[in-house]
């Protein structure tokens, strides 16, 4: 394995390069070697603190593999603090599972060295029919139908935000005009319907104008608006004249 380079800083901390660890076990082994401690009698509190400090410094505290190990270390650290009777045969060292995994992993690292050396030695001999290595393949074999490709392209295109264009038009709401019309109707009729105000083919602007005018006049007490049931025609009734302020 590549030995992680440790650079002493002014504050005597370590800078350890992330790429040089293939995982939390690798980092742990590195710390154990640095400290020259006995793997089978792991000073768990010390190692846990160092582990946390390193992953914190490297921003690895976002990586789930490292976080899981950090949690495991803290749990073991806590378990080690639990009081136990002297000569308690039932007591199982909370570190034993971790130690077993570390030893197993250390064995794998040793095999990695062996395999790497073997591959390097083999690479020094060429067979016949050398073909230049192909360009690095994409991550997964790409097998795709034309339609899938088109659909994918569409999905990408859909993500491109279209320039949002607002057409700003002056709102020709004519509340005054509508109020005039309603007041004229009120002058001649005690009671009339919504359609008497707007007519059947009223546009949205006329409807809005009329509605606002109606509400305004109702607020002023000039009329009363009634709708006997949902969606029924609106009936407008003249309100008995009131003194306006």
């Amino acid at each position: 394995m590549t030995t992680p380079s440790s650079v002493m800083q002014e504050n005597a901390g370590f800078i350890v390069e992330l790429e040089q660890f293939s995982g939390p076990l690798d980092l742990l082994l590195h710390l154990i070697r640095e400290d020259e401690v006995d793997i089978t009698d792991l000073p768990i509190a010390k190692i846990a603190d160092q582990f946390l400090a390193v992953i914190d410094e490297l921003g690895l505290n976002q990586a789930s593999d490292y976080l899981e190990m950090a949690a495991r270390l803290l749990r073991i650290k806590a378990q080690m603090l639990l009081p136990r009777r002297i000569g308690d045969d039932e007591w199982e060292d909370p570190r034993s599972e971790l130690v077993r995994r570390l030893l197993e992993y250390q064995q794998i690292r040793e095999l990695v060295t062996w395999l790497g050396d073997a591959a390097d030695r083999r690479a020094e001999q060429f067979g016949r029919g050398f073909a230049p290595p192909p360009e690095p393949a994409p991550d997964a074999p790409l097998v795709i139908e034309l339609n899938e490709l088109l659909a994918a392209a569409e999905r990408v295109i859909a993500l491109i935000p279209e320039p949002v264009l607002h057409r700003v038009v002056p709102r020709p709401l004519d509340v005054e005009g509508a109020m005039d019309r309603i007041e004229k109707l009120l002058a001649t009729r005690e009671e009339f319907g919504w359609l008497d105000i707007v007519g059947k083919r009223a546009g949205i602007v006329d409807i809005l104008s009329a509605f606002i005018a109606l509400l305004e006049l109702a607020r002023r007490g000039a009329l009363r608006v009634e709708q006997p049931e949902p969606f029924a025609s609106i009936v407008i009734r003249r309100e008995s004249p009131r003194e306006t302020v």
């Binding site: 593999d65 197993e104 794998i108 990695v112 395999l115 790497g116 073997a118 060429f126 016949r128 050398f130």
Partner: protein, 182 residues
């Protein structure tokens, strides 16, 4: 050289991969297996004795002509042939686990490595170094991986028996001793 040895030489020259003894024997059905073995031995001796630029190497359960190591750099510098890309530590870790635990599933690999290993396994399958050999029992019948002849070829091994035995490693892992009976 005997006619059979020369035939083998031609076949090994023509092949760009290693040829097994069976494949070589099949070239001349009239020759028995022992004659084939003798011809192969003869060919090897000739190449060793005459001190050639290539040697006959036993690899991936077969035989293959390979250039001698001392020429690697010169050949590579001239870009006549290039060394294969080195395998990453993650790939080697995974290979080691597959080689010793096969058939083995992704979960077991991840448990030993302590990191997600799906992508690296896929890469190794893509490079032909491991392959799905069977499916395991249990939930979802997980894919189980094993090593390929291509791996032996990449490592320059005759067979998996040439891998170091676990007991020979500096860190010997022994199964936990059975509890003493009371």
């Amino acid at each position: 050289m005997s006619p059979l040895a020369k035939l083998f030489e031609a076949a090994l020259f023509a092949a760009s991969r290693s040829l097994t003894v069976d494949e070589l024997s099949a070239l001349d059905p009239s020759a028995g297996e022992s004659a084939a073995q003798a011809a192969l031995d003869e060919l090897r001796r000739v190449y060793m004795a005459e001190d050639h630029g290539v040697e006959l190497v036993e690899i991936a359960q077969g035989w293959q002509f390979l250039t001698r190591r001392e020429y690697a750099e010169t050949i590579e510098r001239a870009r006549i042939a290039l060394r294969t890309r080195r395998l990453s530590p993650a790939a080697l870790e995974t290979l080691a686990i597959v080689a010793y635990r096969q058939p083995v599933g992704r979960l077991e690999v991840e448990e030993i490595r302590g990191v997600d290993s799906g992508a690296v396994l896929d890469k190794l399958v893509e490079r032909g170094l491991v392959e799905v050999v069977t499916r395991g029992e249990g939930l979802g019948r997980p894919l189980l991986y094993g090593t390929t002849a291509q791996l032996l070829e990449t490592l320059g091994l005759k067979d998996l028996d040439q891998l170091p035995r676990l007991e020979e490693l500096a860190v010997a892992l022994h199964p936990p001793a059975p509890a003493e009976p009371e």
